[in-house]
Amino acid sequence: MSRLLSPGLVRGLLPPLSLAALLIAIFWLQPRTMSYFGLNLLLNLAVPIALATIAQMFILCVNELDLSIGAFVSLVACITATWLNDTPLLGVLALAGLVGIYALLGALIHLRDLPSIVVTLGMSFVWLGLAVLVLPTPGGKVPDSIRTLMTLKPPYVPFPILASVLLAVIVHLVLMRSAWGTVLRGAGGNPKSLARAGWSILRIKMTMFALAGFFGVLSGMALVGLTTSADANIALRYTLLSIAGVILGGGEFVGGRVSPIGAVIGAVTLALAGSFLSFLKLNPDWQIGAQGAILIIVLALRVLISRAEARA
């Protein structure tokens, strides 16, 4: 028994268990959600949040923090709902350019040894300003292809679940199981020895930031595919949600210790927390607060488990 339930295993199981507990509570409160359409509605908005969380995870993996991802996703949403729809070529070029800027930010932060918190805080202004310039008033129109994809109704399994699982598995395989992924994570774990072994930390940081930018772009497109129109402030809260999601999923702030599967689970948990609270008929004033409380409870559980781990 004690071998079966080692603290390490419990620690790994904590994110999925929290999600399961939340889901069961929701099903119990509102049995109608336990259907294809119920789940679809419940989990729809979790997809863009999960994508943004994966983006944040790549940054956290190299010991940096991105406080601009929410503004970035907003900007992508605005570009998707305007340029990408009206002049697709310009839209694609702009989005590719944004990924490039992310890579350059990684280079700048690494080369000048800058605090990523401050640089990305500054960038959040830049992204938001650009979003306002692209789309001064809420509106725009999502390209049909994205809308079709986001409202796909595959048989048996609702699209959000399929997309989340696919996302988690692909990123897990690339980052956790491949040799390349191990090198990437090494830049967070022990950059010095990695550099001595001949790898370029600069290139790794640029890659990780570019990956973050890429998933940020996907997040913005997915979001606009669901909401059909955009505004400059549409995803600002994603910054905090994404950080919380990674940590909730078992990631650490330093040392390259992250988990893609955990991050997706963490993001879905946070997205569900909102629905759970509305089913509880909790005063809507306390919606945000309860998200904070859930975060604190899960982290507290983790501390208890680590203490048990230390004792074992």
Partner: protein, 314 residues
Amino acid sequence: MSVSGLLRRPWLWAWAGALAVWLATAAFTGGRGSTEVLSTALVFGAFFVIVALGQMFVITLGPGNVDLSIPACMTLAGTVSMKAMAGAASMIPLGLLLALLVGLLVGTLNYGLIRLLRIPPIIATLSSSFIFQSAAIWWNRGLRVKPPEMLAGFTTAKIGGLPFLAILVVVLALLGHILLTRTIFGRSVIAIGQNPRAAHLAGIHVERVRAITYLMCATLAGFCGYMLAGFSGGAALNMGEEYLLSSIAVVVIGGTSVAGGFANVPGLWGAALFLFLLVTMLNTFGAGAGIRMVMTGLIIIGVIVIASGGKSRN
């Protein structure tokens, strides 16, 4: 102090930037309204400095230490105190006391999470800020209660042409400077930021110093929320929003090391004036909201790049 010694002062860049931006604005308008701009900058800069002072001590504690609950704390303190005073002048001291108590409570909860649950400060203050923000919404349902006239008058008063609030905050900054450079507490904060283990071995009560720092930061945020609500005609639910970025930006642009262990107070005023005057300048040039934000962001990053270059050369 020799010229080269002056050039190495970490706060110099912030003040130089503030001066340059002010002169550029004055040149554009042909000097019209320059003193009024400066007077407004002193008032808004004062609010920045109050919260940045607390944030500076927190950031100086070392990597990972930052207080993200400042906006929520300001909003909650502003809301609670305005509602309690309900516009009555006789309640002004009680309102202030309540605002400071809210700050103390926020700080206690933040530090409790950091210490007892070992949550990294970023996540701890982030999660707690959700709760405080909700509490502020619930407490007042977003209604704006007018501050007592006397408080509003106090926050906008001028003495000899200078805003009284700015004078008050200059004194506060002076006290902060003395606290940082001349007291055991201040030196302990810096020592912990440079090397917590060495600080512990040297006999510093690391956790006690950390606790006081987080409490002080939240209390200052509560004070700022009270003053800002008095100044801007009541507490609004988004009143603290811009202070998340500015509290950190002012500290870092002011020459305090974001990695901890090095701090200075004069830079806070320089950076606060710089940030406000920068926005004023872009406004004067007729830039729209979008351009203004892009420029603000780029200039903040530019300042960080230049400041860090100076550090590595030394």
